[in-house]
Symmetry: C2
């Protein structure tokens, strides 16, 4: 399984997979490790590759014409583990439909950088919506 050349590249692939509804890309983003963890907004804790990827298969099947922008990125890292804390801004037809606060963690393995943790929760007080003109 191929990884990415940096945590930033892995994150870019994660949001690209999310937006495009691409399960093959999402599969390449996540590390093959029994300890990977994923918490979707309002969801339970999913642990391990099978549970995590199964949840994404359900979510990605429902993605259609959704644009996602990861903004306000805070990076905390050291060596082979990097944390990104982001706002995920979801747009449908140019209108913002939701904002999620997410903690994303990436690890450098022999294969390259891959995701090991995603923890999302609704943002109760998001900043004003981005200009839709700025989306593309």
């Amino acid at each position: 399984m191929a990884g990415y050349e940096s945590a930033q590249a892995a994150e870019q692939a994660f949001y690209q997979a999310f937006e495009a509804g691409s399960m093959s890309l999402m599969t390449s983003v996540w590390a093959d490790d029994p300890d990977i963890v994923c918490v979707h907004p309002g969801g339970e804790r999913l642990q391990g590759r099978e549970a995590v990827l199964e949840s994404w298969a359900e979510i990605l099947a429902a993605m259609q014409d959704v644009v996602i922008r990861a903004t306000d990125v805070v990076v905390l890292g050291h060596g082979q583990l990097v944390l990104h804390h982001v706002r995920e801004q979801l747009f449908v037809d140019g209108q913002r439909r939701g904002v999620i606060l997410a903690t994303n963690a990436y690890r450098q393995t022999a294969e390259g950088w891959q995701m090991v943790l995603h923890h999302g929760a609704p943002d109760p007080s998001p900043p004003p919506a981005l200009e839709s003109a700025g989306l593309h």
Copy 2:
């Protein structure tokens, strides 16, 4: 500012500070870094030492006879950055009052290990309550 000798020791101090309502202990747990991030369940993103510690001062002032058990810990780490994903089980008078899913991150600084990120969200499907007899 003194840090801790391991991520595990820093996490133990974090929950001890939380349970005891000790602001001085909580202050020693968090790293002195403008990029520290804290999201309380249902809350907005707080960034930087002042905003994070101010939020804890409010929370800790309200803590009284609360027992917290961090369970189901998943550890993802490498070198000087360690992630713990835990269930925070809160008990009052021996009764479980809430369960939070939390991502906690600790970093090794020149001072020792300190917390750099806490992201909590309500657990929608927690496991059966622990036996209260097992609390102490």
